[in-house]
Symmetry: C2
Subunit: 371 residues, 2 copies
DNA sequence: TTGGCAACTGAATCGAAGT
DNA sequence: CACTTCGATTCAGTTGCCA
């Protein structure tokens, strides 16, 4: 999309604000295909029948809010499918959605997602460093919650900042199980009576990872169950836009105050690690143009089982096979595909060296020149 | 159930054997309410559309067996509900079920469970120490699988060896996230051509924890998707009985060979830590009868905020309150309930000591006498 | 200021047996 | 079935008070 078109579209959206009322109504009033990401923390439908006391006889302050009450699974399913459908309409074609839940509701949400033609990408486990124990000793400590990351459709090419996640995880791929503490301490919003404003406020670290992993700076993130605005707060810190929808005044007031106090992130600090596929494309032919490889040079694989000759136009020849470095690499092996850059080697300082090293050298030079 | 009745019932069951054929048919032929636990590792309905290749172009040996193919979610749901329903009929009233799955199928299985009036107890995450990386770099490494532990009904009083789990976890409650390596090495069954016999063989450690946590020695465990018999192998090691159902001859042959090679566990080694609630009941009055506490003695709480006098009949008096140690403990605190054994203390060697220590001493003596 | 201790808290489908 | 009685059961972390 051209920058002007993007700016115009954003102007039609209630960017960086909270819509007051029912999330389904509000989503249906937004323009279709206008949002990059949805993050949703819907009611979990906990079916708590009696109070719970700790071993010292004190009472557990449970979630007993009206918004978490549903008559039956059928009612909960109906509600779930309605908001998921509305969210899907608002999403851009390459948009994606995150939902969080517990075993009470997440299986129903997941099945509904699939039925509505969302395409599941991962389920992710939030492992709680400090969960509430099981006081009665009757089950395993409920020490995690489940998130689902799903694309709008199977065809969606969603944003995934793979390199940034890998970097954040000590240079190994980010896994599907994440460890975070629950939201406590100064981060937990309290009212004037020192009571928690929201019973289930999520930690910012969780949203931080989600937005860092699956949005770009400037993206629009919609949260239909905004609560006290963790999504909005993190979006602002990370230079993303948010749209919040919330019914309860007490939550909205807390969220507005919270978000207003945040200094938005500095643009330079928000750039992700450059994904490899966004790096400048260096065609094999340019290596010849620049005299790094001479026409007629012999290339071979690491084990010297196969060899090929370089032609002036950047093509390779090996026996009866000819074509690009990738195609000929595949043909000589009888493989379906081949990365010619890492497969083919040339002699350099007496050692077989992948031709990709030449490409890496050119990229480094280009960066120096543009800096 | 009386031992003879249990023995007779077991004789009607195809104990410690593998039934060949469709699991739904076989389950429907078993007597209703006859099985203590079901463990199920159903087809995951993986939606792999094309072969997956590693960066070096080698092919990933993925699950592409016929038994994992379903035309649509509707077909998969129908199949799921059918076997879950059949399993529920076979379960004893206090029986429970475990299912394992991935994000492809577990949400459908979980929703079906709830619709069929199973009662969910925990979802448990198997975190894989060594998962397969995401070769394409397009998602988070899929590093876990999800298990659901559910009772036959909300009323079921299922087996949970809380103390054994706590012991196994360095004396803190076992959490809902479990870390195990995937099944590799000598544990992984290979055929004569050194190919893996089953594409998704589960590690024995996983079943070990499940059976240790939620069955008693002698219990009958049914596995409707027996595969190469991990459930049977572990059941035999732990002195539990198994019933396996499987269609594929190659799996059955491997399972039979595997299980035959196992020496069943020794009975003494299989006993779990004794849960406190199964210990001999010692009434408070017996402490007075045995002269460990004299009538007229003063008891007090740890902080000496409350005190009470012991009467000869085993009742306590504190101001206008009188009754059992539990009742008076609750009344003086204004609490709804109180464990008098740990609340009330007496002076012993100049220190406030809970009266529960006296009970512990009596229990120890009784054990010595009966040994 | 710091250290030690007591008090408090978090999305929880949280008991079993007898009358 | 409802109701009563007996009595079993908590982890990691934060806050606040007091020495």
């Amino acid at each position: 999309m051209a920058p002007e078109a993007a700016a115009e579209e954003a102007s039609r959206l209630p960017i960086d604000s909270i819509l007051v009322g029912d999330c389904i109504d509000h989503m249906n009033a937004l323009p279709a295909g206008s949002v990059d990401l949805v993050f949703a923390d819907p009611p979990y439908n906990l079916q708590l029948e009696q109070g719970l006391t700790r071993p010292d006889q004190s009472k557990v302050d449970a979630v007993d809010d009206e918004w978490d009450k549903f008559d039956s699974f059928a009612h909960y399913d109906k509600f779930t499918r309605a908001w998921l459908k509305a969210a899907r309409r608002v999403l851009k074609p390459d948009g994606a959605l995150w939902v969080i839940g517990s075993y009470h509701n997440i299986f129903r949400v997941g099945a509904a997602l699939q039925d509505l033609d969302y395409w599941m990408l991962n389920d992710v486990i939030w492992r709680k460093a400090n969960p509430m124990p099981n006081f009665r000793g009757t089950r395993f400590t409920n020490a995690h919650e489940t998130l689902i990351w799903a694309a709008k459709s199977q065809k969606s090419r969603v944003t995934f900042n793979y390199e940034a996640m890998k970097l954040a995880n000590d240079d190994t791929q980010m896994r599907s199980d994440w460890l975070f503490p629950i939201c406590t301490g100064t981060e937990r919003l309290k009212n004037d009576d020192d009571e928690k404003v929201h019973p289930t406020q999520k930690p910012e670290a969780l949203l931080f990872r989600i937005l860092n992993a699956t949005t770009k700076p400037g993206d629009v993130v919609l949260d239909p169950f905004f609560g006290t605005g963790t999504t909005g707060a993190v979006a602002r810190k990370l230079g993303r836009h948010f749209i919040g929808i919330e019914r309860e005044d007490s939550y909205i007031n807390a969220a507005l105050k919270r978000i207003a106090a945040i200094r938005p992130g500095v643009f330079e600090a928000l750039q992700s690690v450059t994904p490899k596929r966004k790096e400048v494309r260096i065609p094999f032919g340019s290596l010849i143009e620049q005299g790094l490889i001479e026409p007629g040079a012999q290339l071979f694989d690491l084990n010297k089982r196969y060899s090929a000759m370089v032609r002036a136009d950047g093509s390779l020849v090996s026996g009866s096979h000819q074509g690009s470095i990738h195609k000929v690499g595949a043909l000589v092996q009888g493989a379906e595909a081949c990365n010619g850059w890492t497969f083919w080697h040339h002699e350099q300082s007496g050692r077989p060296t992948p031709i990709d090293n030449l490409r890496i050298g050119i990229r480094a030079k280009l960066e120096l020149m543009s800096a």
